[in-house]
């Protein structure tokens, strides 16, 4: 596979402005931090398998007028395939899911995931779970076209990006932890939605 995750991120990032992003894991966190600096407060950086798309769906359910993007991974989605069935039933109109499928657990050195053998097709699984708009992109042009379609869709839209295993060289590390990232993200949602999520304590 010659398409890189970082090049895909560079294609996706300029398309985003008011959207909210939840992402994981490992190297993709640092790559998104570099590829989309304007989306830093609008992005929740997570380090967990199986939670990213469910969290993004919860966010999309709470803010149905706002486009939410899940930047998930092959390992992360495989950890909890059940979310695809839930999305198939719930049909969130404002959720765009990108699955970075590098066919390995890159952050721990690259042992293969179940997609590496060539038989497991995540987009086909998603279609079978009821997500009619579930596709696989193998070139940057294909990926970019799916981003355009997915960000304008009125149904849940999933694209599996088959990407190379390498990490983009020369990028900066993100130094914040999950708690700081949560506060940055929540304050951004509060400011842009005009709401209070984590309010002041009572005086009593």
């Amino acid at each position: 596979m010659s398409m890189t995750r970082y090049a895909c991120m560079q294609a996706l990032a300029p398309r985003l402005k008011d959207e909210l992003v939840i992402l994981s894991l490992g190297g993709s966190v640092d790559e998104w931090y570099n590829a989309a600096p304007h989306m830093r407060p609008a992005s929740l950086f997570q380090q967990q398998l199986g939670c990213v798309t469910p969290q993004a769906f919860g966010l999309a359910a709470g803010l149905p007028h706002r486009r939410v993007i899940s930047l998930d991974t092959d390992g992360g989605l495989l950890f909890n395939l059940g979310i695809l069935a839930t999305l198939g039933n719930e049909q969130p109109a404002n959720l765009f899911i990108v699955v970075w499928d590098n066919e390995c657990y890159q952050s721990i050195g690259g042992p293969p995931t179940h997609t590496a053998a060539g038989r497991v097709d995540l987009a086909a699984i998603a279609r079978g779970a009821g997500l009619e708009q579930a596709h696989t992109a193998r070139t940057l042009d294909e990926f970019d076209a799916h981003c355009a379609a997915g960000l304008a869709a009125d149904v849940p839209y999933l694209v599996v990006a088959k990407v190379a295993t390498g990490l983009q060289p020369g990028i900066k590390r993100k130094h914040s932890d999950g708690r700081e990232d949560k506060y940055i993200f929540v304050r951004h949602v509060e400011a842009t939605e005009g709401i209070t999520i984590m309010g002041p304590s009572e005086h009593n």
């Binding site: 939840i22 929740l44 997570q46 380090q47 967990q48 199986g50 939670c51 469910p54 969290q55 993004a56 769906f57 919860g58 966010l59 999309a60 359910a61 709470g62 803010l63 909890n80 059940g82 979310i83 069935a85 839930t86 039933n89 719930e90 932890d177 999950g178 708690r179 990232d181 949560k182 993200f185 929540v186 949602v189 509060e190 939605e193 709401i195 209070t196 999520i197 984590m198 304590s201």
Partner: protein, 166 residues
């Protein structure tokens, strides 16, 4: 579970400002699930496992809405990984309402593990909880769980046991 207990749960959720309920149905709460489905102002999201439900609830928290995860207490074990990551790692809270399977009086062998593991698992997560066995305490327990979780930004649980669910 009596209808009056179901009504008390719904009143507690309403007073706590809950607008989304994720659930995996169980037998002790059987009448609660259709009642939640029919409740005005409450969106229900059936899930495939409780861990998925916990993560969805975490996402709802980030939107400014309030969610609850409703399940049998066996679902707590299925939720430990996302609960630990979200709660201890990021301070994203999930409030849970669970039925107490496996408490004293349990007559199903398969439910015994649920009773033995429930409290130690919640204690391992350093998660406060209240076990409610009288209907009169249900509504306030739910309200108190939200007050605590939205002060601590950490998980809490209300466990319904005894005659409330039998």
């Amino acid at each position: 579970m009596k209808q009056t207990a179901v009504d008390a749960v719904l009143r507690g959720m309403q007073r706590a400002g809950v607008s989304v309920a994720c659930y995996l149905p169980d037998s002790l709460f059987r009448p609660l699930y259709p009642a939640m489905d029919a409740s005005t102002g409450l969106r229900t999201i059936p899930v495939t496992n409780e861990g998925e439900g916990a993560a969805i609830c975490g996402g709802v928290f980030l939107s400014g809405k309030r969610a609850v995860l409703v399940m049998e207490n066996s679902g707590l074990r299925a939720s430990v990984e996302p609960l630990a990551r979200m709660g201890l790692g990021a301070g994203i809270p999930v409030v849970m309402l669970m039925s107490y399977r496996g408490e004293m009086g349990e007559n199903n062998w398969w439910a015994i593990p649920h009773g033995i593991t429930m409290e130690p698992v919640m204690q391992a997560l350093r998660m406060p909880y209240r076990i409610v066995r009288e209907e009169a305490g249900i509504e306030q327990a739910i309200i108190d769980a939200y007050e605590w979780s939205y002060s601590a930004y950490y998980h809490s649980a209300v466990v319904l046991g005894g005659e409330v669910v039998r």
